[in-house]
């Protein structure tokens, strides 16, 4: 059966409430950014020890998820799985929107947000941030071109270029995101290229989970038919990505546990780091991996829509916990300047660094998420993003 993509009507009270609610969250985020710019970072919980805080947790999550959200489109465009083709426009749109949300948070958190544009002409070839200016712009370009070739039949000849370009670019992009941390030579939590690979694997999980949640919301909200076949395919991907993410996390920590010089750091994250230990085990491992894996694999829940939604939400919660542990836990553990000595100073050397995010940081971070979602909510109303029906007989579950 022929699949027709069509704009959402978007006239229901629910649609306007969603758009209005998200718009309000965006405004609240911008209000926080204004205050942070006006008063300085003194109003945040960030300090000279924990220099990247909750806004970065949200920003990096959104940027990593953006890359992963494009995965669904790549399965269609690069790996030729026809069943994913109708799902691809939302995938590209979501990638653009999530990246925009993440970048907005990153830019608005700068000490001098008014100077962000300087990064456009003062390029430092050795800076991963400088590379990212190019990588982010390129990702927007490729994802937008990909979307265009899917929506406009006259642009069809460019489709393969856009599909392959976006796929390769997103791998480079997430490599760049991982290496922001991986190239930090002195911190025990970072300084490993493994982070680039981990971030790519995490991106597949986070992006697919966000994709599923947006798809479900759109179809359940607009009462368009959504069959079990599409859900089953996406669910199967999630199961594989959870296993891969767990594996990547395991290898990272096993490597550290093997090196005596890393024992103190590992003990901090895995055993006695308080909040960070809890976030790692309960947040990342149990909520982010174990329970979703069981829900999605166990015979009595694996075909259940509610279980799929719950699992996707838990994956996102686990993702934020992972980012918190990676970004803030990595900074909370003190730099070791003099191995073999106990250090103390007025600048908190040798101590676990304190950090409590302020409400401004929550507002900015959630505002960034809202920017991504408001963009998607708006775009599905004005562009032919979503198939009219994803019922089993339409979505052709047996297509290869």
């Amino acid at each position: 059966m022929h699949i027709v993509n069509r704009e959402l009507d978007g006239n229901s009270a629910g649609y306007w409430a969603l758009l209005g609610g998200l718009g309000l969250l965006v405004l609240i985020g911008l209000f926080a950014a204004y205050n942070m710019e006006h008063h300085g970072h003194v109003i945040t919980g960030m300090n000279n020890q924990i220099v990247w805080g909750l806004p970065h947790v949200f920003a990096v999550f959104l940027i990593v998820a953006a890359s992963g959200a494009l995965n669904v489109a790549s399965v269609a465009g690069v790996f030729g799985k026809k069943a994913y083709k109708p799902l691809a426009p939302l995938s590209a749109l979501l990638a653009i929107a999530l990246l925009a949300g993440g970048l907005a948070v990153l830019m608005l958190d700068l000490g001098r947000a008014d100077r962000a544009i300087i990064t456009a002409w003062e390029i430092n070839p050795t800076s991963v941030f400088s590379w990212n200016v190019v990588l982010y712009s390129g990702f927007f370009g490729f994802a937008a071109m990909y979307l265009w070739t899917m929506l406009d039949k006259t642009a069809k000849p460019l489709y393969p270029v856009a599909a392959y370009g976006a796929f390769i670019w997103r791998l480079i992009l997430t490599t760049g995101t991982g290496l922001i941390f991986g190239f930090l030579v002195a911190r025990q939590a970072y300084a490993t290229g493994l982070l680039a690979l981990m971030f790519i694997i995490y991106s597949l999980l986070y992006g697919t989970a966000v994709y599923l949640l947006v798809l479900m919301t759109a179809y359940l909200g607009s009462k368009r038919p959504l069959g079990a076949a599409v859900q089953r395919r996406l669910k199967n991907m999630l199961v594989i990505f959870i296993a891969a993410s767990f594996y990547a996390t395991l290898v990272y920590h096993l490597t550290n546990v093997y090196f005596a010089k890393q024992w103190d750091f590992e003990r901090f994250i895995l055993l006695d780091g308080g909040l960070y230990t809890n976030l790692f085990w309960i947040g990342q491992v149990v909520i982010g991996y174990a329970i979703p894996f069981i829900l999605l694999a166990a015979p009595n829940t694996r075909d259940n829509r509610a279980a799929l939604i719950a699992a996707s939400i838990m994956i996102v919660v686990g993702a934020l916990a992972q980012m918190y542990v990676t970004i803030i836990g990595g900074q909370a553990f003190p730099l070791e300047l003099f191995p073999g000595f106990t250090e103390s100073s007025s600048f908190f050397d040798g101590q676990i660094h304190a950090y409590t995010p302020s409400h401004w940081e929550w507002m900015l971070g959630i505002g960034g998420l809202a920017i991504a979602l408001v963009a998607v909510t708006f775009a599905v109303k004005i562009l032919r993003i979503l198939p009219e029906s994803l019922a089993d007989e339409v979505a052709d579950p047996h297509a290869k």
């Binding site: 003194v42 000490g111 300087i118 430092n124 941030f129 930090l184 030579v185 003099f338 000595f341 600048f347």
Partner: protein
């Protein structure tokens, strides 16, 4: 030649000799210190650095920190969000319980990680090895603070309320750190506020590139170390006695 003429010639000769004698030490000193005029650009002929003798550094003494704060207009507060360009680190050997005290600041690396990661080039290293932040193009991303192995950098978290000094511009939202008293170096003073203030002369400023300088000679004679030498950054600040 009349008597007056003889006197005149003698006088001119004497005056010239006196003038010459007055200039020679200055010229010699400039030669020794490799000083340069304020108009002359910093060059890689110099590599400015510090040698810190931790055996002289007093536990509990904070004179270098106070002097640095006064010199650069820092508040001296030590809250989580306050700037500290130099701090005293107290060390206890985990095995022997031996204690050491030493000042820690920007180590002015030859291969500075802060410069590598800076997206705009605001973090930069001068030809003479001094690592600085260009406050005009720093966007406050704090990537340099993440990258610095020595925790040497601070972000200005709030308005400075006109506490800045003319020779040391600072700014809310920008990152800052020890400048190795670059304003003194450029004025030809060739010292730092911390070195001047240390009651035990535990901090020695000098040119690592000049074999005749005291710092170079001491480094050549006595054992010293770089903090985190394993990172291969070739720091401009060295420590002895630890």
């Amino acid at each position: 030649m009349n008597q007056f003429e003889q006197y005149r010639r003698k006088f001119i000769g004497g005056a010239l000799a006196a003038t010459g004698a007055a200039f020679v030490p200055g010229v010699m000193l400039m030669e020794v210190a490799h000083s340069r005029s304020p108009e002359e650009a910093a060059s890689n002929k110099n590599r400015w650095g510090l040698l810190i003798d931790t055996t002289k550094c007093g536990n509990g003494c904070n004179e270098c920190v106070t002097a640095c704060n006064t010199e650069h207009g820092l508040s001296g507060k030590t809250g989580l969000q306050d700037s500290q360009w130099i701090r005293k680190v107290e060390l206890t050997n985990n095995k022997t319980n031996a204690t050491h005290s030493l000042p820690m600041m920007c180590q002015h690396c030859e291969e500075p990680p802060c410069v590598d990661v800076c997206p705009t080039g605001a973090s930069f290293k001068r030809e003479d090895g001094i690592v600085l932040v260009d406050r005009h193009i720093c966007i406050g991303c704090r990537y340099c603070m993440m990258a610095c192995p020595y925790k040497a950098r601070s972000l200005v978290h709030e308005d400075l309320n006109d506490t800045q000094l003319a020779h040391m511009p600072r700014g809310k939202g920008c990152v800052e750190s020890c400048t190795l008293c670059v304003h003194k170096v450029d004025a030809g003073e060739n010292t730092t506020a911390c070195a001047q203030a240390c009651p035990e002369q535990a901090i020695l400023f000098g040119d690592l590139n000049d074999p005749a300088s005291e710092i170079a000679q001491r480094l050549a004679t006595y054992a010293s170390k770089e903090v985190r030498a394993d990172l291969g950054l070739n720091t401009g600040v060295r420590y002895s006695g630890i």
